[in-house]
Assembly symmetry: C2
Homo-oligomer: 419 residues x 2
């Protein structure tokens, strides 16, 4: 039996460029000639493997792939689902390999974040244990930029560009609306434990008076007294203050800011961290305060893709196929920075097991001493990641993101009941 | 005494294209030759007039004006300040005309919304009452699109394009993340009393299964039972539901949704309307729910300007000067639609007094019968307003929005104490 088909799947939160990686995987696999048979994709990540819910990417024309490479979201669907350990749930792994065998899968490429790299490491180990001939490769993706072993994660650069431009543009609005009574703007960005996206908004500023004036990172416990003093000083100097808040910031005692006690009545109010910071400032000083939450918008903005990010998303897709053909099993494709200015990078393979379930946080050297801004070192590091513009086609005033009809692969196995 | 200088000012919330109107006013006034002397601007709207805080736009080069026309925010600063009535506060009007006389202002062009048209009408009336030779013109601007007498308001088309694209892109993300347990996304857009921006998100959809599935307008009292049934039906069909919510939606009893009672404990929870709708759905069905609040981002997105909107913002600026030279006092420049497909329009003058303090709301014919979506008529009306792309220059991955050094005009009067 010849296990030479390739299976690709997408996992976790989506990005503006994960489909660019998908397109590149398919293009590279097609170019590989007879080494690779059919090129399949699972719907909704590893759940699609368990459910034997596969599609055949042969239905995508070359033009489709080009359009796909400029469409946000994930064309094959993603999931938030982690495989159990092999010891805890051997039946789950049994099922995965039944599906792989039924469809002669010899290459499995999983496009995701930390959890997906854990799946890559587990599947690689399980395949060896059962002598199943599988090459398993992780394709990196996350707007949080918290993957270890890589200079940055595809998806981050475009989200970073989005939030930096959002702060730049909102800042121009605020500047016009500055008043004697004070105005505050808080933008809450993604990042539960790693403040990379919040840090990237610093790229909007050319000097200390430009928004964002303050950046609150999950890496720095919130010192309310220090924050409020800095807000007041900024408002007194400029008439307004713009603040970026990571959704995951925590109080000094470690509790998340998003759950804030209302001291006057003893109730717990639920809300985002940005809303809580906005309310704290408004209550303290009486400044008029607005808050923005871009939420999904920041990770889906196909109209504002970073050229660097797009090139990297494509490169990790191509490299994943090349590494797979070289038999580099259990690896993640990583981006390696070789120079800052001008930014230069290359790709390499790193062991997925070394990356799985770790979180790369913003290092101390990237944070200003007072904990309320990033350092110049952070700006130098982040700047190249948002450079360049890659735009989709527009029609009738809107980006063109085609819907693709997916071609199901006939099932060969009985249905699976997820445990 | 020859009152021939021109004074321009910006008021109210900013837009992505108000500076395009400003640039066109200055260009047209320069082109007018000796009919117009100096071209001044007041800082922070009518407050800058009262404070005699004027700048001379002669410092702007032609290249500056071109860059200005592609910069969001308001270069001269805006205010949220309404003139009193002449009867209530004659001293205020006395001051305005002292400043006008001191700087030989013969033309006053006020760029704003309903409140600004009220100021135009009052100043025109006050000038006639005191025989001060003034031509006073309103230049329309508002992302809310609630100005009467005009087909649409400059600023709206770009904000509409922004929110439509935001919904389109977030929708692609949601589509990938759809799951058996259900997922809901709520985007709250601007519009206290008029749902034009919410309605414009409908342009993101090509069919009933495309986001946004539901649109809640301030024109339609919220029927929670009907909303929840529609949400459930959508989630059961698609695995997710995307909803646009106007910030100003109200309950059947007229209270704003943004203040929502938590029935379980009897507390009042404050939050935006989008957050309240998200919470209502999550509490009722247990679907995972996200909410986004673009806030200032939607009205400041210079990187996503509508070609139609930009052309109209420029046209009303040019026309304001032409009408001023023709002595058409107390008028607002209005956009008149002459054809739908292809969209054709022209500009005309309408009496500012007829528009002041009115609000143009989304008409019943633009709302679907169940009140949870817009009609095809609305789409036909709105579609041309977001068409075309006008982009700023980009450098280092960010739009180029220059900061301009403003040239103050020497004060000639004693300081004014605002009453």
């Amino acid at each position: 039996m010849n296990h030479q088909n390739l299976l690709y799947a997408q996992s976790g939160g989506m990005t503006a460029v994960i489909n660019a990686s998908a397109a590149s995987v398919i293009e590279a696999a097609r170019a590989a000639g007879p080494a690779i048979g059919r090129i399949y994709a699972a719907r909704h990540g590893i759940l699609g493997v368990l459910d034997e819910d596969l599609v055949d990417t042969a239905s995508f024309s070359a033009a489709d792939l080009e359009a796909l490479a400029h469409s946000p979201g994930g064309v094959f669907g993603a999931c938030r689902f982690d495989l159990d350990t092999i010891a805890d749930n051997p039946a789950q792994f049994e099922r995965v390999f039944e599906v792989f065998a039924a469809h002669r899968i010899g290459y499995f490429l999983y496009n995701g974040g930390n959890g997906s790299m854990d799946a890559v490491a587990k599947l690689s180990q399980a395949a060896r244990a059962r002598n199943y001939p599988l090459v398993c490769i992780g394709v990196p993706k996350t707007v949080d930029n918290d993957l270890e072993g890589t200079d940055c994660s595809p998806g981050f650069g475009s989200a970073a560009k989005y939030v930096a431009i959002a702060m730049l543009e909102a800042g121009r609005d605020l500047d016009a609306m500055a008043s004697r009574t004070g105005r505050v703007f808080v933008m809450e960005v993604m990042g539960r434990n790693a403040g990379w996206l919040a840090a990237a908004t610093a790229l909007a500023s050319e000097g200390p008076d430009d928004p964002p004036h303050l950046i609150l990172l999950p890496e720095v416990p919130l010192d309310e007294t220090r924050l409020l003093a800095a807000v007041r000083a900024t408002v007194e100097r400029l008439g307004y203050c713009a603040i970026t808040v990571s959704e995951g910031i925590r109080h000094l005692d470690g509790t998340p800011v998003m759950q804030q006690a209302d001291d006057r009545k003893g109730h717990v109010q639920l809300g985002g961290a940005g809303q809580c910071i906005s309310r704290l400032i408004q209550t303290t000083f009486g400044y008029k305060s607005h808050w923005a939450i871009p939420d999904y918008l920041q990770r889906a903005a196909g109209h504002l893709v970073s050229g660097t990010d797009h090139a990297q998303a494509r490169a990790v897709g191509h490299a994943a196929v090349a590494f797979a053909l070289d038999g580099i099993d259990g690896a993640m494709v990583a981006i390696q920075r070789t120079a800052d200015e001008p930014y230069q990078w290359t790709v390499r393979a790193v062991p997925a097991a070394d990356i799985a379930n770790l979180e790369r946080r913003v290092p101390a050297a990237f944070i200003r001493e007072d904990g309320l801004q990033v350092s110049e070192l952070a700006r130098v590091h982040l700047r190249p990641l948002i450079e360049g513009e890659v735009r989709p086609a527009f029609r009738n005033g809107l980006p063109v993101y085609p819907r693709f009809q997916l071609e199901p692969v006939a099932k060969r196995l009985p249905a699976y009941r997820r445990s």
